[in-house]
Every structure is written in C-alpha cells, then in structure tokens.
Assembly symmetry: C2
Homo-oligomer: 284 residues x 2
C-alpha cells in the first residue's frame, strides 16, 4: 500500500497507475468497522471494474464550526493506515490542512436545498465545507466510483446532488450503516460517551426502528402519528436531548406530509452530553 502525504506524491501515483480506474473512499480517519466496510465494498467494486482502491484521510477543518470538536477529533494515523492495509486499500492520500487550503482561498461549493434542514440547521456552513472538500478530493483523485456511508445520510444525498448538478463523471455508492451488537451506529464520536450515555445511546436507533416498522405495517398511518410514536420511544433516553427527528423523502430530503409514492427515510440526531449522535433508517 502506498501512503501519499501530499499532492505531488498523489499526482505521481496517479500518473504511474493511469491505466486503471479508481474507487475512492474519503474519510476523516479515526477508522472503525464502519469505514472498513466501505473499503471492503470499494475492493469489491474495484475488482468488478479492474481498478484500484484509494482512500483519503483528512480531518477537514472547514466542515467544523468554531465551537465543534476539530482540535479534539481523534487522529490515530498509524492504526488507520494498518486498517487500510488490512482491507485491501491500494493507496492512501493523507494531506495536511495547508496542503489542501491556500491562505487566500476563496472558492466554495455550496448546496442550497438539501443542506439547510436536519444536520445543516444546527451546523451552519458544515455542508459547504463537505461539498468543497469532496469536490477537491474528487478532482485530486479522479475516481470512477466513490463510496460513502449511509450513516451520514444527508451528506450522501448532498454529494449525490453535487455530482448531478456539477456533472462529475463519478458513480456514487451508498453503503449500509454498520452497527454494534446493541445496534448503535458505529461513529468516531462514540468514544466521547460516558458509560451511562453509552448505555442509553442505542435508544436512538431503537426508536427509529420501531417507528419504521410501524410505518411499514400501517400501524403508524401518518407522519404525525409516526412522530408521536418516535418521541414516546425516545423519551426513555433520559440523558439525551433530541436535536431533530424528521421523516423525509429519501432523495430530496423534503419532509413528508403523508405516506404515498415517496420513499420515506427516518432521520434523527440527539446530544448525549456534549456528544452529538446521528442515525437514520429506511422503511421496508
């Protein structure tokens, strides 16, 4: 596996491997089984197209708000590289911030519809940071395919929209959320939870899942009754403060007024202490 610490080494690698298409997995490091499932999926896709897997590890400052955890975000680079190696990644691009951003940088890629609600409402500027850095990583690594986790469902929808609206010649693959035994979604932020918070955290997924089952069975016939059900189920998480719960169209992320032709997706975010967790489920 090749470790590429800057744009120059990346460009040399691309030039030496120019005959083979690439499958990209962009990450912020602090890798866990959620990420390695993306590497595994990328490996499968790369096999299918005769290509190679390139991962990126970059804790992107522009997607953190000033009060958020950029400085504290975990950066276990050696362990991350070992996981990449063990899961068949061919090359890892690991730039530092000043390699990615000039001091007088002035270009932003922004999304104005899908990104204003849900996580975007409580994290202003976050998705501009995500779109801009993902556009840069796409242009730097020039992949045929890129794999993102469904765990960050709004991010996935925003990136699909960016690819569509800017005509990136890249296929986007959404990969299912990986969960702990108790169904808590894997996240680099789970390490911040106290043991009491960790014990209650799976209630977020459980409330989403029972609500989704109620919608699928017809017991919860309207978005409003589904919301009442979710809130009652989530009330068991006494240490948590709900940020949002929404039932949206899976591709436009617009709140559903009724269950009809649309494909519904249930998304929620909640603070356990200072730690903000997100999760989402489909209705099937």
């Amino acid at each position: 596996m090749d470790v590429l610490p800057d744009k120059t080494t990346l460009r040399h690698w691309l030039s030496a491997h120019r005959d083979r298409p690439r499958v990209l997995v962009p990450t912020m490091g602090a890798l866990h089984r959620g990420h390695t499932s993306l590497f595994d999926r990328a490996r499968t896709e790369a096999g299918r197209i005769g290509g190679e897997v390139i991962a990126t590890i970059f804790v992107n400052p522009t997607q953190f708000a000033p009060h958020e955890d950029f400085d504290a975000y975990p950066r276990p680079l050696e362990a991350d590289l070992a996981l990449c190696r063990a899961h068949g990644v061919d090359a890892v691009f690991t730039p530092v911030a000043h390699e990615m951003y000039a001091p007088d940088r002035s270009i932003t890629v922004s999304e104005s519809r899908l990104s204003t609600t849900l996580c975007g409402a409580s994290r202003p500027g976050h998705f501009d940071g995500v779109c801009t850095v993902v556009a840069k990583l796409f242009l730097l690594t020039q992949p045929a395919l890129a794999v993102f986790g469904e765990k960050d469902f709004q991010q996935l929808a925003v990136i699909r929209r960016m690819v569509r609206d800017l005509d990136f010649p890249i296929g986007i693959i959404g990969a299912p959320t990986v969960r702990e035994e108790d169904r808590l979604a894997l996240s680099s932020r789970n390490v911040y939870l106290s043991s009491e918070e960790r014990a209650q955290a799976p209630i977020l997924q459980r409330a989403l899942a029972t609500t989704a089952r109620g919608i699928a069975s017809g017991d919860l016939a309207t978005p409003e009754t589904a919301r009442v059900h979710f809130l009652a189920a989530f009330a068991d998480a006494t240490l948590a403060r709900l940020d949002y719960f929404e039932i949206v169209d899976a591709s436009t992320l617009e709140p559903l007024q009724s269950f009809g032709a649309n494909e519904p997706r249930l998304l929620a975010a909640a603070f356990f202490g200072k730690t903000r967790l997100i999760d989402n489920v489909e209705v099937s």
Copy 2:
C-alpha cells in the same frame, strides 16, 4: 467537425476520442475574431500535446442578472459553427439550458474575493454563474487545457482561482484581446452600439493605453495621478457613463496603493447608452 447537442452525444464523443487530450474553448456563441483567435491558440496548443480542440457554445442564463440581455443575446448558431469549422475545432458542444440545469438544481460554485469588485460590484451573482457553468463544462469535457480571453480579465482571474482552489487538473491559458482597427476590443455586445456610440467607444481603450504608458514611463508615479489622467482622457467620451476604473494587482485584483513589486493591470467598464463595454490593459 462533430456537433454535440447534448451530454449523451458529448460522452460518446469523449469515449471514442479518449486517447487524446483536449483543449477547451468555452464560449457563449455570437463568435467574432476574438473567439477565433482563441480557437487558433487552442489549435496550436492541441498540436503541441497531440490533442484535439473542443469548443462549447452555451448562452448561460445563470450569469445574466434579471435586467440584463439574456433573451436578446445574439444566437447565430449556423454562422458560429462555420467559424468553428474554419478554425480547426474538432467538436462543438451546444447544449440547451434544460440540458445543463435541472429544475431543482441547488449547487453553486462561488468565489468570495476576486469577484466582489470591478464587474462583480455591478453584476451581483454574475461570477457565481460563471464559476458554476465553467466547473460543469470542465467536468463534462475533461480538458487538459482551457483557453480564455484576457478581454474578460476578471473572469480569467476568477477561473484561475477556481482551478487552484478546487484542484482542477487543467491548465488555464489567457489569450490577448483582439481589437478593431481603431483599437476597440472585439465584443459580441458591440453590435448594440449606435453609430455615435461606436465612434466614441475606442476612447475607453485609448484612455487606458495612455494611462498605462504614463505609468510605464514614470510620468504617472502614483495610482492617484494615474486615475486623474484616465478620467481626464475618458471625459472625451461624452456619450459614456463610467462604471469603474481600477488599477489592480494582476493576480489578486486588489487595488494598488503604489507602484512597486506588483504587476499592475488597468481595468475599466463604461456604459454607452444601455451597452456596457469593458476593457483592460497591462503596463509594459
């Protein structure tokens, strides 16, 4: 020469020509000798790299403000294609607006420093429209090089900035302004001028050129004396209303406070009746 009316035919063409690098010339049509000089330059560059020349003709609605001349903008497609053919263009992409923009499009590429002054001050949103469409055309045509005219000097600087900040793997070539016998810069908008306005229009270039010569000779020792000189010289254009005159650093477009290490560029815009003309000169 291949005419490619939509993304599907463009992709087929790219796929069939994938072994050869491309030199792109994006235009809004209404082609004149200014544009054909860009095709000629692209042809030379293509010869150098063993590549092909692709032009685009697209009157981009998002870079016109509501009160501007989008509907009236000339669209002489057959004459434009004949000029492309005569100047060695290999393929022309000629999409319609709904091919380029989904009704629910929501991604914008914006520039926040270079684009707020000069033309950007009187055309809010213009450079967002330019950046977004040029990013799309770059991603659709995937060129190795792209040629833009120095006539739109601020646009050229903004596009260089976009390429740098988003890491587009594309070289940008600025080509010199082509002028009429009386030194008026060629522009698709010159046809809007009355004969009286047309007679006065070259005063814009003349005032810029004499100011630049005064700076080069040292007679105009400060930006302020240079401004006084320009305004006096431009006063001869009795039918014109000056929009701006600025002496800026050629790469940052920041106004110069003195003539020192920077490379100065003189830029001006003026209305002749309803027609807004722009021009710029170097100091050499």
